[in-house]
Subunit: 133 residues, 4 copies
Amino acid sequence: MTQSAYRHRLSVRYFETDQMAVVYYSHYLVWFEAARTDYLKSKGFPYARLEEMGFYLPVTEAYCKYLTPARYEDEIIVETRIDEMKNASLKISYRVLREKDEKLLATGFTVHPCINRERRIVRFPEVFLQALS
Amino acid sequence: MTQSAYRHRLSVRYFETDQMAVVYYSHYLVWFEAARTDYLKSKGFPYARLEEMGFYLPVTEAYCKYLTPARYEDEIIVETRIDEMKNASLKISYRVLREKDEKLLATGFTVHPCINRERRIVRFPEVFLQALS
Amino acid sequence: MTQSAYRHRLSVRYFETDQMAVVYYSHYLVWFEAARTDYLKSKGFPYARLEEMGFYLPVTEAYCKYLTPARYEDEIIVETRIDEMKNASLKISYRVLREKDEKLLATGFTVHPCINRERRIVRFPEVFLQALS
Amino acid sequence: MTQSAYRHRLSVRYFETDQMAVVYYSHYLVWFEAARTDYLKSKGFPYARLEEMGFYLPVTEAYCKYLTPARYEDEIIVETRIDEMKNASLKISYRVLREKDEKLLATGFTVHPCINRERRIVRFPEVFLQALS
């Protein structure tokens, strides 16, 4: 895709380290979530608003490839990019970079169907599709 | 109180360690929660049932004193005891022990008002009080 | 593989739920870790012993497919299976089941190289390979 | 104390919510940590540097009083203040505010002895005391 990626910034918390003195692997998935929350907000469509309208984007697949460990107090950039946009599902990809040297630390993706309050798969609301396009 | 304490068992996860190679301090509060969930279940009144009835026990105070660090793969016992039982609030205290030598690792307490779906403070339902007494 | 899977048991904690009232997606990776820790212990080779010998198994890839959400107080079984065992890396797969009806909730895998204290990739120690075979 | 408080900013992550649709109570302790890390950095003495010098500030006591729940996507301010500075220990207090209306959500404190690599209590290094005064 030619679309440029949205950049979310965060600082590594002590909480996120483990006894190998690097960030524990599950936290990258939390960073992906913080980054896509921020991305949607930047598009003028906060995820909280989607939930108020009765739509949810649960995760049905998540993948992460870990290249170089992140460490305590590292400043991190998470790039978010919409990979696939279908009528009722979305694939988002991520790149995790260390800010000081733009070193690539990890890459990954998540897949999200759109569901309603009864947990049935439904089309994205039109206003949401417009905001993201 | 003369009431004997309920004992919840858990194993320390790698996730719970930090780069000091000990359990990060916020996880003890999660252990307190797991222990009181288990305690209520042992009394025949799972917390999930209380929520189904429309009652919630949020936390309004939490305290923990850390004596000796817990480490990865330690087998842990969390003792739970009702300290105070009022009409609309509850104080629970905890003791965290290392199983192999019964070494006391931490102590703490949490305070819980009883609220309804509108987040208003209400009396505990009678069946709940009976189960715990 | 014909090898039978090792079963790790856990109870869903309130901590692990999110405002969709289901388990937040990153926690499945924590469960995978708890399950493989338990698996190695069952083979007579606790992961803590591997670290004492100066070997580490960081994660270089993690994947999870989410089928049915886990909920608070669900009793969960995580099945662990060695998928691939090479000289210096290991692929482990997982199946997450709800205990009461053996419903499959999620599947996934992790990939682990063997590294030494200098973070260089090295062969697994012989005693470790023997324990797992 | 007349000293003005240092303000750390963060956004509530979905990860931090629970099925009551509010932030789960243990995460406030993580926020306290992020805030004090940021505070030390603002004083020109990042905590990572203290660890490199062989000094650690584990937590021996933590307390939090929860007044109003934080919610997903809330912008949060955590104010950090040194309450007590002794030769070998430190008490820090925190105030958690919602940014949009400066509503006070929680208050709390943590206590930290200064220890060395052998986990023995020692005086703070002089440069650290100077940076904080």
